[in-house]
Symmetry: C3
Subunit: 158 residues, 3 copies
């Protein structure tokens, strides 16, 4: 396991990024759960101020690759916010383990990888070598609230 090069929250600030407020849990499920040295997150949407900011499907003309990339980045920031809320500090993340990215895709859209790079690139920027993870990028038929992406994360802690 490699050492963190820098405090991840300092790194976020340096990138001009701030963590969105964690949405209040509205149902029987919770944003994060720790078992052994794993922290699992719920599927995370690209939310800001309690609203999904990026909607519709990739392949529709208003949703270009860059839109999807930004949506993935925002969903990841939401996830990091939930992780910070659970752990107190992002520096307690030892490793990003897995990213599973579901991209709301219209027929014929096959660039899911480029969309989920918005998540992967951010995690590596923030956590350095420890941000490198396994990942799946998938083209899903529909998503809750018509979100453009939904992303799940597994982190290793402690």
């Amino acid at each position: 396991m490699l050492e963190l090069e820098k405090d991840p929250e300092a790194k976020l600030k340096e990138m001009g990024l701030s963590l969105p407020e964690v949405p209040k849990p509205v149902a029987s499920y919770i944003p994060t759960l720790i078992v052994s040295n794993f922290l699992y997150t719920s599927g995370t949407l690209p939310m800001e101020n309690g609203k999904v900011v990026y909607t519709g499907k990739m392949g529709e003309k208003n949703n270009v690759i860059e839109t999807g990339y930004e949506a993935s980045k925002l969903a990841t920031l939401n996830s990091l916010s939930a992780v910070k809320n659970a752990l107190g500090s992002l520096s307690k993340v030892k490793r990003v383990v897995k990213v599973t990215g579901f991209v709301n895709s219209s027929a014929g859209f096959t660039d899911q990888s480029k969309v989920i790079n918005g998540a992967s690139d951010l995690l590596v920027s923030v956590f350095g070598e420890n941000g490198k993870h396994v990942r799946s990028a998938l083209g899903i038929a529909e998503l809750p609230l018509n979100a453009l992406v939904e992303i799940e994360f597994i982190y290793q802690i402690g």
Copy 2:
């Protein structure tokens, strides 16, 4: 970790629910697998007496939210039946970790969360605080046997 408030099987009985018979494994895969203190389940369909009871897609007029909710509940009962079969007793479940719910969705259906609440609500009714989990709800294009939902579970044991 919180203590179980009540025996989960007594709780199921109190709710008037019984566990379906576990379908015999028909292929190279198995219904449950334990590694360390995790119990993983295979994707579970809403089966009764060896048949998928809820079929088709959400958004089709015969499949209203309540139908999807019941389908999720039945898939979860099937999962609990497999878990009981593996552990001997549901009281050996320490925590419900993760629910990944795939909802067979026609174009424009975006209420996957309400459908998967059928799983989440049941787990919290049965396991109390220990039933709270992380979760993803996803709108899938097609499912085996045209099932209305397929749900995977991870439980913490021992």
Copy 3:
């Protein structure tokens, strides 16, 4: 846990199968990652010599069940190649834990299980009883590079 009946790489050779070369990682994600006694893989496509060999959707007339079965087998060989690369030898796999198979599916195709049997059957042929796993088979709307299948694996090691 059962003992391996035979060296898995010898078994592959006996079956006339060879492991494809591991594709070079092209982004912020990596092919495999080990945490505790789990080895996670990225979503794996049916690649050969750096190209996706099986494309399109099941239900299209050129993609019959046997095509999908072979695509699943090839994706699994790619995964095994990455696992060997990570561990040095496939005999360090203690157990195949989980297979999550996403099958690129056109409307009305519901035989995802038969397609993912290509993965499950191979794993049991190679690892014997230790190859039995939990699994989900899902019909996905679109996949990266228009691949016919994408499959994720979790292995137990050590």
